[in-house]
Symmetry: C2
Subunit: 107 residues, 2 copies
Amino acid sequence: MDLSNKKCKPYEGGVTPLNDEEIAEYRKHIRDDWKVIENRKILKEYLFVNYRHSMDFINKVANIAEEEGHHPVMHVFYGKVVIELWTQAIDGLAENDFIMAFKIDVL
Amino acid sequence: MDLSNKKCKPYEGGVTPLNDEEIAEYRKHIRDDWKVIENRKILKEYLFVNYRHSMDFINKVANIAEEEGHHPVMHVFYGKVVIELWTQAIDGLAENDFIMAFKIDVL
């Protein structure tokens, strides 16, 4: 599995959320500081020296989100950004979430 | 009280959080869809048609935050932004928070 070459796919219905085993497999392909929350979402904290740096980061994430058509929830603090990824249409995790996580980490 | 002409002041110590009465007074000078949470923070939800519009908004808020030296926590969803204001140094509300709320509302 090489997430770097993948693009997020538009949701077309009939997709089920990744199961525990699949999540564990995808998990290996992103950095290990992503937390898996109840096998329904993934979350990561990024630390920055100030607000401007936090803002620069989330603008880059937003650009990827627009390119990929998959939009994380972002929490912006003075020197910290928390990124949350899940797939709303299935209320769980899909490949798209791991593709986004991978692309955010190589920013 | 005219918040539009005020600027946020740097914290210089010895400041106590606004009390209930003072909060009620400041509250009158910002739009009434700001929620006061336990008299310790104020919070408002802004709705947008898409992520790009949410991002445009938070970038404008971040510019004001940098100008004023007072930085809200911002939660960014696809079509919604939640802004939270409080003054960390006093773990409560200060005039700065209401000045920021006022300035965000007139963006």
